[in-house]
Symmetry: C2
Subunit: 165 residues, 2 copies
């Protein structure tokens, strides 16, 4: 799905989170572990509601409250494991910021699909621009809007729109 490669990570997200919590004398509870595992089970973008739903479908009957998911997602953001990337339908969208290289997105306005890409040249240009303004760059967010190849093509079978949401 993506031509990006995972970055080498020494430790798992859960361990990374445990380290962060330790520095603040906070605890890695069962709930927090479940949430982190669920979030890092795949590399897709997500919003809080999706995680709450996925957790509610666990077969071991262990539930986690919505409040706790909100609180944990915030903590993960502070810990540098997650990054808020956008807002969709009034909700905040997040993506992994640990174990995954920096990248940007092409966003299809028809299907809503996100295509990731990374451009070293882009980085260079941003460095240059920042330097020209005496600005110390720490990061960036780039979203390119338009139509994906699939969305442009006339749909042959009911493919694209329907299967995707």
């Amino acid at each position: 799905m993506s031509d990006l490669q995972a970055v080498e990570v020494a430790i798992s997200p859960v361990e990374k989170f445990r380290e962060y919590l330790a520095t603040k004398a906070q605890r890695l509870t069962t709930e927090r572990r479940f949430i982190v595992e669920e979030i890092f089970a795949d590399h897709d973008h997500f919003d809080v509601d999706q995680i709450v739903m996925r957790l509610s479908q666990r077969d071991d009957g262990k539930r986690v409250s919505r409040s706790t998911v909100y609180r944990t997602v915030s903590a993960l953001e502070e810990a540098g494991l997650l990054r808020k990337i956008a807002r969709a339908d009034g909700r905040d969208l997040y993506e992994h910021d640990y174990g995954y290289p920096q990248h940007d997105h092409l966003i299809c306005r028809r299907t809503g699909k996100l295509i990731e890409f990374h451009s070293p040249e882009l980085d260079e240009i941003l460095q240059k621009v920042a330097a020209e303004h005496g600005f110390r760059m720490e990061g960036h967010r780039l979203e390119v809007y338009g139509l994906s190849a699939e969305a442009c093509r006339p749909a042959r079978r009911s493919y694209g729109k329907l299967d995707r949401i």
Copy 2:
């Protein structure tokens, strides 16, 4: 404040809006005209609350309700006169998308200041990336985060943070 130049516009924002409204059999009311004039009185970024406040301070006693401002801002967005650029403190931020050239922002995480810039090279790269993915680009949003020159310098007088908000 900005080294960008205004784009040549044939007609005023209000007229442009009137044209748009005409295509949808909608009306340019006094309220809508006031709102557009207030929004395009300067080129600063704004949120709905700021416009509501500015309108409430008119000396001619003409008031416009918050609902109407929300509704009009949405219409202006659809009309292509405004663009939603970010979210700050839970509010949507807008900027002009008519009579002003495409540009991006350097955002100071300390002062919150927005520095505009435009890079033709950036456009080229985005065109290239989009082409590689068979993506038809229609626009983009780029925010570069970091520290502005002023924020890096030790504040001599109480300047920067305090005077700015």
